[in-house]
């Protein structure tokens, strides 16, 4: 359960399998992410990258194996000599450490920008409203959205919505942040803005990050490690420099050639 440095990993996948019907998306996957590390998952679509994030957010149930967060049982635990599902009440305690930003933003249209951000800090974390508002304003400033505080979410452009969604995820003070193709739904000229915001967060916090992205330049700048996926397996795992300049696995070479042209 510990890495070579003796520190408990932030995330650990043990023999994780995920099937949708007959379709095996992940097959006995093992990997762990040390605290504070930034990991980019790359690979062709259908290779299981997004599924990993969705399993970490408990948006999908595992078909087999288990996931630990900081060494704590998140999906399953050993009890009475067998593995059983962690009950929702205790799972929620662990889930508080995980946040996610989605491709489609998923802001709540029935709330203003500010309300979107403070909803869970107030009602889930139990912060006072004043404190939550102060935190939200600080975060809105960080993502450059202070002026839109009281706007309706549908008055915002895609890029603006995504920046609010990033602030909303950060307001929960996550230890782990999952970024699922967060720029894929944005116009090309907006992408740089959002990536700039993420870069700053990466530079100024020690949040563990898992990102699925097609922005290879960005992945190269922020990640400590890049995992290349194919057919639910990690085929190559290395530092970004090596991965993008000198990949060893033929599947990686093929994939990067197709993506980078």
């Amino acid at each position: 359960m510990t890495t070579s440095t003796g520190e408990t990993p932030a995330i650990e996948f043990r023999d994780v399998t995920k099937r949708f019907g007959d379709n095996v998306v992940l097959d006995g996957l093992n990997f762990s992410v040390p605290q504070g590390q930034r990991i980019t998952l790359i690979g062709p679509s259908g290779s299981g990258k997004t599924t990993i994030l969705r399993l970490l957010m408990t948006l999908e149930e595992l078909s087999g194996g288990l996931i630990l967060i900081d060494g704590d049982p998140y999906t399953h635990e050993y009890k009475g000599e067998k593995w059983v599902k962690v009950p929702e009440k205790r799972r929620r305690v662990v889930r508080n450490r995980v946040g996610m930003v989605f491709q489609q933003f998923n802001l709540f249209p029935n709330m203003s920008v500010l309300e979107n951000i403070i909803e869970s800090p107030v009602h889930v974390l139990g912060k006072s409203k004043d404190e939550a508002v102060a935190d939200a304003e600080r975060l809105l400033d960080k993502v450059g959205m202070s002026e839109k505080r009281d706007f309706n979410t549908n008055e915002l452009s895609g890029g603006q919505q995504q920046r609010v969604a990033i602030a909303r995820a950060l307001a929960m003070d996550p230890e782990i942040l999952l970024l699922d193709e967060v720029t894929s739904a944005l116009d090309p000229e907006i992408v740089a803005d959002v990536l700039g915001v993420l870069k700053e967060i990466a530079d100024t916090t020690d949040i563990t990050m898992l990102l699925v992205t097609h922005e290879m330049q960005f992945a190269r700048e922020v990640s400590d490690r890049v995992l290349m996926f194919d057919k639910g397996q990690i085929v190559e795992e290395t530092d970004p420099e090596t991965m993008f300049t000198n990949p060893s696995h033929p599947r990686t070479q093929e994939f990067l050639k197709a993506v980078l042209g």
Partner: protein, 249 residues
């Protein structure tokens, strides 16, 4: 004709009482129907077969049987099993269960049309199920369901006229009494039509106001509804007008 009008004027106080009975049935029935619709609507969405199964059975039973027979059954048959209720309570229970069953389909459909991403975001923000539904999902589904609920409410109002057959002195009963007194079928039933129409119009007006408010909360309403818009008999439902069609009787 002037005799008719004099008779009508003499009977206005009783019309007031009759309208109160009709409103008690309608509003009581609507409140019960709302509770039933929410319980069954959410019940039929759960994964647990133990909740979903009975929910479906109740919905199909109340949709599939005649309201007037349900009314008589609760009023005449249920006392034989030791459950005796006042006529007004019987009316409210029958209307509430019947329209609640229709309403549950509206609730279920509207909840299902809230995008999946909204549920996922609530999970990512670690909300409890109740919190998700109350603060995020229901407010969005509510705006979708109001036009269909308006139809059901109006049908419930008209269905309440059956209560006259279980001794309640509602608007239907008053109309019939007016016919006896005037011996003028045209006059009395036209008066009855107008009274029901007036009540239905008021209810529609209230529901339109709720709809505009719900839309504005989602930032979809254009502006505050003008009086004219709010008073429109037919709400502007456009493509949303998938009505939960059901016969009142």
């Amino acid at each position: 004709m002037s005799d008719d009008i004099q008779t009508l004027i003499d009977r206005l106080p009783r019309l007031g009482e009759a309208v109160v009975v009709t409103l008690e049935l309608t509003i009581g029935g609507a409140i019960l129907a709302a509770i039933v619709a929410l319980l069954l609507g959410f019940g039929s969405r759960t994964r647990s077969l133990w909740v979903r199964g009975p929910s479906r059975v109740v919905v199909e039973f109340f949709r599939g049987t005649s309201l007037v027979v349900q009314l008589f059954w609760i009023y005449y048959v249920l006392p034989a099993f030791g459950y005796e209720m006042q006529a007004l309570a019987v009316g409210i229970v029958a209307l509430g269960l019947n329209y609640g069953a229709y309403g549950s389909e509206v609730v279920r459909g509207s909840i299902a049309s809230v995008p999946k991403g909204q549920w996922e975001a609530t999970t990512a923000l670690n909300m409890s199920w109740f919190h998700k539904v109350r603060r995020v999902i229901f407010p969005q589904a509510w705006a979708l369901m109001i036009p269909m609920l308006t139809n059901l409410l109006i049908q419930l109002l008209k269905g309440s006229a059956l209560a006259a057959y279980i001794t309640l002195h509602d608007v239907n009963y008053w109309t019939d009494q007016l016919r006896r007194a005037t011996n003028d079928v045209f006059f009395s039933y036209t008066a009855g039509l107008l009274v029901y129409f007036a009540i239905a119009y008021l209810l529609t007006w209230g529901m339109n106001w709720l709809e505009e408010r719900a839309k504005r909360r989602l930032g979809r309403g254009t502006k505050k509804p003008s009086l004219r818009e709010a008073l429109r008999v037919k709400p502007d439902v456009g493509s949303e007008s998938i009505t939960a069609r059901g016969s009142a009787v």
